[in-house]
Amino acid sequence: MSEVKSTTVEVRLPSRMGFEKVAMSTASAVAKLMGFPEDRVEDLKTAVAEACINAIEHGNRLNEKLSVGVVLSALEDSLEVKVIDDGKGMSKHQAKPDIDRKMHGEEDPRGMGMFLIQALVDEAEWVAGSGGKSSYVRLVIRLDKDAE
């Protein structure tokens, strides 16, 4: 743990679907180095993937001239991940998907990314950048999930 304390790892992704898996792999490697259990690593991988997909698709609108920044900060007892894009930022809350409404065609089958992020990590906040640039989502996953 001492080697990764306060260590920062940065990745830049092209705004192309599929490259979220690079961020997933990086986040997974850092979380494993920090000693996160496998189930929490899986939670983090899905949350990071969904954050990157949102950044690629909605933030940067699939514009391959823009990149998505992923900054992982390994702290003593938690891992913080910022996923940064050039969009205007996203709304800060998404209701739990209503499977009955989706099954009846009353709700888009998609639109679960933000819900999954919120459900799988310990903290998630969406921050709009000034002037519609450098918006980010900040995720935190704690080594001791029950500790506040």
Partner: protein, 119 residues
């Protein structure tokens, strides 16, 4: 970058004697998987099929767009009067499918043997 989704269909009979159509997926299930997921399902002869079993054993990555495709498949199956079950999901994706409510419309089993025994 995304691993191409492959799918193929097997016809099995459950120990109880019911015909079961098994749709086996391989690779990532993401936004690019529409043909492999929905297309493969839609190519099945609807009237002859009552039980559909989805095999996720060889799927490593499912994102929210992929989950949406599974929900669309469930919608179409429900409208066709079919029952859908699934097996082979990792513990993590079992949790994710449960969180989004898919288990209300598709029973999940750890393995093909356990699924078939229940059908």
């Amino acid at each position: 970058m995304q691993s191409e989704t492959k799918s193929h269909v097997d016809q099995l009979t459950s120990p109880a004697g019911h015909p079961v159509t098994v749709l086996r997926f391989e690779g990532d299930i993401a936004s690019t998987s529409k043909d492999a997921v929905l297309g493969a399902y839609q190519a099945l002869p609807k009237s002859a099929i009552k039980l559909v079993l989805l095999d996720f054993t060889k799927v490593d990555y499912i994102n929210s767009s992929g989950i949406a495709l599974v929900i669309q498949l469930l919608m179409e199956a429900t409208n066709a009067g079919q029952k859908v079950y699934a097996f082979g999901l990792s513990p993590h994706f079992t949790k994710v499918f449960t969180m989004v409510g898919i288990t209300k419309y598709a029973g999940l089993f750890p393995s093909q043997a356990e699924a078939m025994a229940a059908l």
